[in-house]
C-alpha cells in the first residue's frame, strides 16, 4: 500500500485545501495522472500520482481545509512505502488534520493515521505545540499561553528557560536569529471577539482561507519585525502620459496596450539598476544585493491579494512587460499562478491610483528591501519659476526596510525614479 501525501507545492506552504478529487475509490491510476486539485495559499494546483495502483481509500474528502503538508490524503494499493508527490522533511508531517477529515469518510482506514492519544496542548488552529513537561507545568502555574511562546529547544521545542522568566501575556524574549525554527506570526495570544465586547450573533464570520491566513501572517510578521519608514515624493507625469499615448499608437497593430503602471514597473527596474543599494534584502548573514530587478506587482483578487513578479524587469521592453502583467493579473484572479510566479521578487509596486487614493504607505513584502505605493495622477496647480501652471501630479511613497535602505539611499532611488518618470526618454539612455 502507498499513502499519497499532501504535497508541498511551494516552499512556504504549510497547509492547503483539498479542493477536488478527480479520482474515486476503485479507480486505477498511473504515474502522472492528475488525481486531485489542491488550493494552496495563493493558487489552485493539480496533484499528480507518482505511482500506479488502485485507489483504495480516499482519506481526506474534497473541500477539506487546513490539510497539513505530508498528511496522507489517499491510499493506493500496491507498494509498501509512503510517497509524497514532492517529499518534504518529515518534521512537517501532521497527521491530525486527516484524522479529522477521516471521521467523515464511510470506511475507516485500517491503520488510523492519528490514534487518539493523550491530547497535546493545542494552538488555536489545532497544531501541536512541542514543549517539555517542565515547561508545560511552569506555563500552567504561571498562566502562560504556550501558543504565545517561542521555543528555543531542539526543533523549536519550548523548554524551561523559555517560560521561566516569561510573564502572562508576554512573549518569551528569544532572538529570531537564535531560533532554529521560527513560528513568528502565531505567537500573539488572541482574545476572542466576545472578550473584546462584540457579542456573538452580531456579525457574520468568514472562515480564514489559505490566502487570508498567508496575508495575515506575512503582513503581521513584516509590520512587527521590519523597521519601516516612508519617503513620499510628487512626480509630474504629463510627459509620461504623452509618451504612453504615442507608444500605444505604435503598438496598436499588435494589440498591445501599455498602462501607466507598466511604465512605472519599468522605471522602477531601471532606477534599481541605477541605485543598486535599494535592490537589497536583509538577512542575518548580510545584506543581499540582487543582480536583477524582479518587480512584484500587487494584484487585488477575490478575497485577498497576490504579488506576481516580472522577472529581470530591467531587461524587458514595455511591450513585453505589458503582455506579462496582463497575463499574470488574469491568472492571479483565477488563481492559476504557479508558486514560482509569485514567490521571491526583489521590490514591489502597489498601485491604488485607479481608486483615487492620493498617497499611502504599503507594508514591505519580506524579504524585499522596499515597496513603492503609487497614488492617483491628478491635475494640480504647480509653481514653475514664479508662475502658476497646471500639471498632472502623481504622489508615490517608498516604504523602506531601514536595516538595508537608509533614508539617503531611498531618497537617491526616488530621485532616479523621478527623473525616469518625468522624462521617460531617460529610460532609453
Amino acid at each position: 500500500m502507498t499513502d499519497i501525501l499532501m504535497p508541498a507545492l511551494s516552499p512556504t506552504m504549510e497547509e492547503g485545501t483539498l479542493a477536488k478529487w478527480l479520482v474515486k475509490k476503485g479507480d486505477t491510476v498511473s504515474a502522472g495522472d492528475v488525481i486531485a486539485e489542491i488550493e494552496t495559499d495563493k493558487a489552485t494546483m493539480e496533484v499528480e500520482a507518482v505511482d500506479e495502483g488502485v485507489v483504495e481509500e480516499i482519506l481526506v474528502e474534497a473541500g477539506a481545509e487546513g490539510v497539513k503538508v505530508n498528511a496522507p490524503i489517499a491510499r493506493l494499493s500496491g507498494g509498501t512505502e509512503t510517497k509524497a508527490p514532492e517529499p518534504k522533511p518529515a518534521e512537517t508531517a501532521e497527521p491530525e488534520a486527516p484524522a479529522k477529515a477521516e471521521a467523515k469518510s464511510e470506511t475507516p482506514a485500517k491503520a488510523e493515521p492519528a490514534p487518539a492519544k493523550a491530547p497535546p496542548a493545542k494552538a488555536k488552529d489545532g497544531e501541536r505545540i512541542f514543549a517539555s513537561p517542565l515547561a508545560r507545568r511552569i506555563a500552567e502555574q504561571k498562566g502562560l499561553d504556550l501558543a504565545a511562546i517561542t521555543g528555543s529547544g531542539p526543533h523549536g521545542r519550548i523548554i524551561e528557560r523559555d517560560v521561566k522568566d516569561a510573564k502572562p501575556g508576554a512573549k518569551a524574549a528569544v532572538t529570531a536569529a537564535a531560533m532554529p525554527t521560527g513560528r513568528r506570526g502565531e505567537t500573539r495570544p488572541v482574545q476572542s471577539l466576545q472578550q473584546m465586547g462584540i457579542p456573538e450573533g452580531s456579525y457574520d464570520l468568514i472562515p480564514l482561507d489559505g490566502m487570508r491566513k498567508t496575508v495575515a501572517r506575512r503582513m503581521t510578521d513584516s509590520f512587527r519585525d521590519v523597521p519601516h519608514f516612508p519617503l513620499t515624493i510628487d512626480l509630474e507625469i504629463d510627459r509620461l502620459l504623452e509618451a504612453r499615448g504615442r507608444i500605444n499608437t505604435m503598438l496598436e497593430k499588435d494589440g498591445v496596450k501599455v498602462s501607466v503602471n507598466d511604465i512605472i514597473l519599468k522605471a522602477c527596474a531601471v532606477a534599481l539598476k541605477r541605485v543598486p543599494e535599494a535592490n537589497a534584502s536583509y538577512s542575518p548573514e548580510g545584506i543581499a544585493l540582487h543582480h536583477h530587478a524582479d518587480i512584484a506587482m500587487a494584484v487585488a483578487v477575490e478575497g485577498g491579494l497576490i504579488t506576481p513578479i516580472i522577472r529581470k524587469c530591467e531587461t524587458k521592453g514595455l511591450a513585453q512587460i505589458a503582455q506579462e502583467t496582463k497575463d499574470l493579473a488574469e491568472r492571479a484572479r483565477t488563481r492559476k499562478l504557479k508558486p514560482e510566479e509569485f514567490q521571491g521578487g526583489t521590490f514591489s509596486v502597489s498601485n491604488l491610483g485607479m481608486f483615487g487614493i492620493k498617497s499611502f504607505g504599503s507594508i514591505i513584502n519580506e524579504p524585499q528591501g522596499a515597496i513603492l505605493s503609487v497614488g492617483a495622477g491628478t491635475k494640480q496647480p504647480v509653481v514653475r519659476g514664479d508662475q502658476l501652471a497646471i500639471a498632472t501630479v502623481m504622489s508615490v511613497t517608498m516604504t523602506c526596510d531601514h536595516r538595508v535602505v537608509d533614508g539617503a539611499t531611498g531618497a537617491r532611488w526616488l530621485e532616479a525614479f523621478k527623473a525616469l518618470i518625468e522624462e521617460p526618454l531617460a529610460m532609453m539612455v
Binding site: 517539555s132 513537561p133 515547561a135 507545568r137 511552569i138 537564535a178
Partner: protein
Amino acid sequence: MDFDVIIVGAGPGGYVAAIRASQLGLKTAIVEREALGGVCLNWGCIPTKALLKSGEVFEQLHHLADYGLAADKPRFDFAKVVERSRKVAGQLNSGVGFLMRKHKIEVIEGTARLEKGTPAPKVVIAQKRGGERTLQAKHVILATGARARTLPQIGLEPDGDRVWSYREAMVPKAAPKSLIVIGSGAIGIEFASFYRALGAEVMVVEALPRILPVEDEEVSTAARKAFERRGLKFRIGATVKKLTKSKTGVAVEIETGGKTETLEAERAIVAVGIVGNVEDLGLEALGVKIEKTHVVTDAHGATGVPGLYAIGDVAGPPWLAHKASHEGVHCVEHIAGQPPKNLNAPIPGCTYANPQIASVGLTEAAAKAAGRKVKVGRFAFRANGKAIAAGETEGFVKTLFDAETGALIGAHMIGAEVTEMIQGYALAMTLEATEAELHATVFPHPTMSEAMHESALDAYGLVLHA
C-alpha cells in the same frame, strides 16, 4: 589554509570533536603527542574498568557459597590482570585510529605549540618522526586534557616506584600488600577498591570531612560504610603533612583534628586532584586567559583569542570524558554555525568502585544552598526483587525534585550497576521531565531500575514496595 579545524589532543574530547567536524564536512587534522584516545582510553576510564572487573570477579569468588557454589581457593595472576587491562586499552586505541581513517581525519603525531596567526593561531608541530610542521587552520581547538596534581614540597610526587599516580598504579609489577591512597575522589576510590579486592591493606586519606566529597552526603556516608565492610580504612579530615620514602615503602605523616599520626605502607597513590595541560603551548604569548591551570572559555569553548577554542579537561571541571566529548561536539557545531543543542546538559558522574556510585544534577545540599525547596525520594535496593535475587542488596536510589515545579533536579545512586542506570535520569533531566513522567514510565520487572521508579514515587509519598 591547510585545514578548517586543527584539534590539539586526541582524547575523548579531541577525537570526538574531530569526527563531528568531519561529519560536518570540515577538513580536519588532529595532533597527538602520545596515543590516540588520550588518558581516558589509554590510562584512565577504560583500563581501570578492566582492572576493576578483575577485582570484582575475584571478590565475588569469595562469596561463592552465598550462591550455592564452591571452588578451590581463588588465586590471581597480577601480571595477567594488568596485561588484560593493557590489551583492552590497546584494542580501543587502534579503534580510534580506525575511526580517524574512516572519517579522513589527518592524524599528526607530535607535540603542538601555537603561534600568532590569522584567522586562528598557527599550529607548529614538533613531529615524532622528526622535523617541524607549521599549519594554518580557520579554527584551532585545544583538547590537551589534564594530569594528576602533584605536591612535591610535601613529597606527593610520583616516583614510579613507591609513590604512584593513576598511571603507575595501573601497571605495577606486583600488587602491593599495603597501600595508602591520598585523596578520595573517584580516581582514589577506584584504585582503593581494586587493590582492596585483591587483598591489600588499604588506607584512604581524605582532607575533607567525607569521602567522595562531590557526591551527595548520604551517598558519601553509605559508600564509606560499604567500603569499610570490605576492609578499607579511612582517615577523614586528615591533612597530609609529609610523605617520606623508606627502603621498604612509604611513611605518610597526617594530622587529624590536631592529632598527628604516621601511616606506613608499601606503596602510596597520589590522587589529590587534576591540573590542566596548559604549559608549553604558547598560550601566554597569545594572551589566552588561564585560571587555576585551566583555559577560560565561553559557553561554546571560545577562548577570546580569534579562532582558538578549548574543550574538555583543559577547559575546567568536571574532568570527565563524556563532558569533554559533549563540549567537543558542541564547539565544532558552533564553529559550523549550528544552533546549540544543549548548553546546560546535566553531566552524570560515575565511580566504578564496589559498590558503584552514580549521580546527576544537584546534591540535596547544593539544591538547598541555591534556595530551592526540594522533595526527596529514597528507595533501598534491599527492597528490590532483582537485587535480592542477585545478592546485590547494598545501596539505594535518592531523587530530588523541585517542590514547586516537580522538575527532577538531582539523582544519586549507590549499588551494583548503578553506573548503567544513571543515564535514565540524565535523559529525564535533559527532556525536562517532572515527577509525573517518571511516575508514568513503566520500568521493567524484575530489574534494579525499578528502584529508580520507586524513589521518584517516594518523593511524592507514593512508594509501592516500602
